[in-house]
């Protein structure tokens, strides 16, 4: 630990936190669950990266941990899209197939030791009760490294959503997403941390006074609770929201621990971070419990222009782009951090090529600049992000 006073009760705990955080940045790696040619680029027939197998995901998770990043996100989508060219003739390579992100997260969880794992799941498709229990379970399997990336807008087909309803409007989706997240958070709090008492004297396994109905009654649904799963190790697993519209921004500010911005260049990034901080403060979110990251597409390969074109980069929603030798790339990240952003989610455009540069040379350059840890020194994702263990909103003690 760089800070030698962490065990001493300081009268200024938040200042100490800010000082230590000002040096390090938060880093995340976005892994996308889609199979297809993209995953084989540069290494034709390399079965290590067949994303429909556990083996590929174990390899990717191991690489992310080698890179000492705070967390990985596992993307998801409910469309079957054509894969970029370059794959085999096999139908699974021609079309971007993918597995469920939560199942992937739980599959890799027992063999990782330190990295946070944040799968994407849709608020429109999932039952809040089941989703809360699955993410809590991920948090148990990882012993406190679990999270959830919100997907608000997915409506793949009529009736595929929870409750077999017709697809709602985008406005309704956002309203319902807010209710969904509220229910999930309440359910995570519905057991006090010490609800399991195993009291032999009274034959009681739990203390019912420490377990609470959540009694959510919203515009479109209600949930009684409590959860069937005791409070997860982090109390509240980390909720991540990537912001791609005003509606998502409002939702993210209201509910997320980690908000991920998209900005095309440094100036836009600065503007957006400033605006986001102001909005957060207006929304009663103090700076010490929200983290703002920016998405960065990472393309180190010599053919990165063609890769980016194939993968849709250069559209209106494009993110910061990181190319060039790792030392220059590290300088650019440190420069972008001057905007006040807390860190970056790195999206390797090609796997394994760009990913291995991120977790190898780029990580080393970032460590040299003092913005990336030299070793994992926290056991939970909240700990890595500098977020405290929140008390349950229902706890009586």
């Amino acid at each position: 630990m760089e800070n030698s006073v962490t065990c001493v009760a300081s009268p200024y705990p938040s200042i100490q936190l800010i000082l230590s955080r000002s040096q390090r940045l938060i880093f995340s790696i976005a892994l996308d669950a889609a199979s297809g040619a993209r995953s084989h680029r540069g290494t034709p027939g390399d079965q290590r990266y067949d994303l429909l197998t556990a083996r590929a995901w174990l390899e990717l998770a191991a690489q992310a941990e080698r890179g000492l990043v705070d967390f990985i996100t596992i993307g998801d989508s409910h469309r079957v899209m054509p894969a970029p060219p370059g794959g085999s003739e096999n139908v699974v390579d021609q079309w971007a197939a993918r597995l469920d992100a939560i199942m992937i997260a739980c599959r890799i969880a027992p063999v990782t030791r330190s990295v946070g794992i944040v799968p994407m799941a849709s608020t429109a498709l999932t039952e809040p009760f089941l989703l809360s229990v699955q993410i809590a379970t991920l948090d148990y399997i990882t012993r406190g490294r679990g999270g959830w990336e919100l997907d608000v807008c997915t409506v793949p087909g009529d009736g595929v959503g929870a409750g077999s309803r017709p697809a709602p409007s985008p406005e309704a989706l956002h309203r319902e997403a807010a209710d969904h997240v509220e229910v999930v958070r309440r359910l995570w709090d519905s057991w006090d941390d010490d609800a399991e008492i195993r009291d032999a004297a009274t034959n009681r396994f739990i203390d019912r006074e420490r377990i609470h109905h959540v009694d959510f009654d919203g515009a479109t649904f209600s949930v009684k609770g409590p959860s069937i799963t005791p409070r997860p190790p982090q109390g509240q697993p980390i909720i991540v929201a990537a912001v791609n519209s005003n509606a998502t921004e409002a939702l993210a500010l209201a509910t997320a621990d980690v908000v991920i911005l998209t900005a095309a260049d440094e100036r836009e990034l600065g503007d957006r971070v400033t605006a986001m901080r102001a909005a957060a403060s207006e929304a009663d979110r103090p700076a010490e419990n929200i983290r703002i990251l920016a998405d960065v597409d990472v393309a180190f390969g010599p053919d990165h222009r063609r890769v980016l074109r194939d993968t849709g980069h250069g559209t209106a929603t494009s993110a910061l782009l990181l190319t060039g030798p790792p030392s220059a790339a590290a300088d650019r990240l440190v420069g972008w951090a001057q905007t006040g952003v807390d860190g970056f989610r790195l999206r390797p455009v090609a796997i394994p090529g760009d990913l291995s540069v991120i977790v190898g040379p780029l990580s080393a350059e970032l460590q040299r600049r003092g913005v990336l840890r030299d070793a994992y020194d926290q056991t939970t994702l909240r700990g890595m992000l500098g977020l405290s263990h929140p008390p349950s909103r229902y706890a009586t003690a």
């Binding site: 971007a96 939560i102 199942m103 739980c106 027992p110 699955q134 793949p156 595929v160 949930v223 069937i228």
Partner: protein, 468 residues
Amino acid sequence: VTAPPAKQIHLAAHFPGVNNTTVWSDPQAGSHIDFASFERLARTAERARFDFLFLAEGLRMREHAGRLHELDVAGRPDGLAVLAGLASVTDRLGLMATITTTYHEPYELARQLASLDHLSGGRAGWNLVTSSDPFTGANFRRGPYLPYEKRYERAEQFIAAANAMWDSWAAPDDGPGATTGRPRCDDHRDLSAINGCRRPGAFAFSGTQVQIAGEFTVPGPPQGHPVMFQAGDSDAGREFAARHADGIFSRHGQLDDGLRFYADVKRRLAGYGRRPEDLVIMPGATFVIGDTDAEALELAAEVRRRQVSGPHATMFIEQLWNRDLSAYDPDGPLPDIDPDVDSDARAEGSAQARTLQREAIETAARWRRRAEVGNLSIRELVIEMTARQSFVGSPETIAATLNAYVQADACDGFILIPHITPGGLDRFADEVVPRLQERGVFRSEYEASTLREHLGLSCSAERAICPI
């Protein structure tokens, strides 16, 4: 003349449940929620070459008289999430979770099960149950919506929808799984071709309970369809199992009862063009092992006393009496007042309670007579009345009895329910399994890699072809 080869026994390990079978007060009892406990039981089951690990499901905390039930183990993680984790720490063991088709949605469930099947190399299974109680529905967006008599209608359509998704990457001529008659798109880069051909993953199902259409991103699971067990016991449930299920988690663990159930269900298979070996029947079974039969009997009595504490006994008879009986000493005689049959059920979420109420007054009278004859206290009566362990004895006795049941066609194997988490299967694995192996009725090494193969099932009831 050589004797026909002995039937092979199938064994599964049930993670100890959220009920009073599980003894949490034992010094050996560990966490019921930490992943390490699940890993420990799974590793023991795999070391013993079991067919699969089995997880139960409960989607609402049990309540008694409007308050949370405190006496038993409570709280559990999500079944499929735990199984995905267990796929990382096991290689061959099948992984089965109980799922209600009433409160899960077909798309999410089919996608997660198919994903688990890929991520475990073909070891995924599910135990389909149905429910209709509004008590559980209060935790879900849809709320209580399904009348009791419609629960199998929804289950049927749930399965049909799941099958359409699991088969949605199959070529049109692959058999019954194909979702439309249109040819599959070959040139995927021409998006205008969407209307002229079927993209992989496109699916649609429309019924009275389930109407869905969309794209399924998961290509055909390694097992074709994950193995499906079923647990319903009504006539409709048995018919449903005979038509759709690969196996039954049965409650008929006694010999006579098991023989009748086995014959009844296997007879029904022919009506759906299925052979007797296309469905395995595995009752849940508890066990207590001692060095000798006498020691096992003593241990079993002690386990029963731990399972039925004084407060447990009071709660149990409150379910029948439907009254607050906390004023009665559990070590004293039964209440002399009659059950209240007019108010709502005291024990929400308990099927046992609902059954009990139907004939409450006659039952109470019968219990009182029995207590008087045997001079039993409330607690002693409850210990005698409620299920005792299925198999009690030395390792040799238990191995011989299990084998006798299977060879007599009372079942095809057992889903074993230890009463201690997570070490409760250790002695069975170390001392009973070798005796079954010596008899040549249980595998010494895994011969296959998928759950479907472990169970000797060639392909699913729904699919004419097998993918492997």
